[in-house]
Symmetry: C2
Subunit: 217 residues, 2 copies
DNA sequence: GAATGATGCGTACGTTGTACGCGTGGTGCG
DNA sequence: CGCACCACGCGTACAACGTACGCATCATTC
């Protein structure tokens, strides 16, 4: 299960450390990311890492910002609200590929790449024609939606991990009393029965359309 | 700074352990909640706790569910959508009082109290007149909003902790180039300048109204 | 009074992040 | 050509942390 293990014993620099750390977190979850584990993966001993990385926290921050680089920024000719939409969807795609990222997103002050995304979104809201204050709220609403949705999905996957989703859900279902919790049971069942539809984009559009409508009174 | 320190050396049972743990987490953050620290606070030694609590993870789950008990469930005569609104606001209030809770919310399978809240919300959506599938999405949208919003606010507070909010924000602002990130700077400045309005309820209503509108085509 | 079970706790271990300082090899200057 | 220097890798060590294990103490029951 060794994560891609980029050819070990290349000179070792911050870049390589961060990328290997991302590979481990992707493959085995962020809990498996130990400084020792990371050093092993790179073919070095633990303390060698500390020549290139201040500490684990800074490393995690770097990983987040590295991942943020993969988020697409729509071209300048894209209409503001459509651009916001695309940017959100791209962010979600990146989070799906790096499920540990949303959980760390909020723990660190934004790095260079995240700042670029903040700037893009805020600028797009500025150009959107929405009242300024509504843009402010819209920014938070949209960021919150992307982050929250992905977090929820990630935690579900995480708690499953080894066993199938059904096993866990069944176990949870067994703790429910059919008399007292019919709606909850039905809801979980809907998840088990597969696609409950493109919830993410539906709510995203609902927020964006709602903002436009609010501006129109 | 010793958290309320309920009269130590009472007989020690699960209830008391959970409540003291909550007090510590409230007062000093969840990172300060160590099994040893908790034992100290109660006037016992570490291993005594393990007679009443399986392990730390189970303790955290119990804390979350205990906190969930404080969320108000509107009366049966409250109109569904209004009830959902009130329930969300009450949840937010509880999260504000226990800032560590939203971060743990997703880590554990729901306990008895959380199940009750799921059931209430889903039942209310069922009674709301919204198409069933829209209710399903609405449930997630609303839960996500409450959780995400509070999480974001909590992480901000947490990263401040000792120093004033201004210090941190100023430091962040200094990392911004006024030429390249004018919108980001303006946005942070708006936060520093105080109330940017009742963002939470505004977006909550936006979501709820949006759902109703979607149902009406 | 002897057996039983619940409860507190002393000791100890494995895992984690990381401080400190030594050794070594390449590089630039005299 | 040799010597000083410095960047880099790493061995050792320590302070948290969660928690396994088993003994000691007490109250209860027969």
């Amino acid at each position: 299960m060794t994560a891609t293990s980029t050819n070990a014993r290349a000179p070792l620099d911050a870049e390589r450390i961060i990328e290997t750390a991302i590979a481990i977190a992707d493959a085995e979850g962020v809990d498996a990311l130990t400084m020792r584990r990371l050093a092993d993966e790179l073919g070095y001993k633990v303390m060698a890492l500390y020549r290139h990385v201040a500490n684990k926290d800074e490393l995690l921050a770097s990983m987040v910002d590295e991942v943020a680089a993969a988020i697409l920024v729509p071209g300048a000719d894209t209409p503001p609200l459509q651009g916001i939409r695309e940017h959100c969807i791209s962010t979600r795609d990146v989070f799906v590929r790096h499920p540990w990222a949303p959980g760390l997103w909020l723990h660190h002050t934004p790095g260079a790449n995240r700042i670029e995304h903040m700037e893009y979104l805020l600028a797009a809201f500025g150009r959107s024609g929405l009242p300024h204050e509504l843009g402010h709220h819209g920014y938070h609403a949209v960021v919150n939606h992307v982050l929250g949705y992905t977090l929820q999905a990630q935690k579900m996957d995480e708690s499953i991990d080894g066993g199938s989703i059904d096993d866990l859900a069944r176990a949870f279902m067994d703790s429910l009393d059919a008399e007292r919790h019919p709606h909850t049971i039905a809801h979980v069942q809907e998840h088990l029965d597969g696609d409950t539809g493109p919830s993410f984009e539906l709510v995203l559009d609902l927020i964006l359309d709602g903002l436009v409508r609010l501006a129109e009174h």
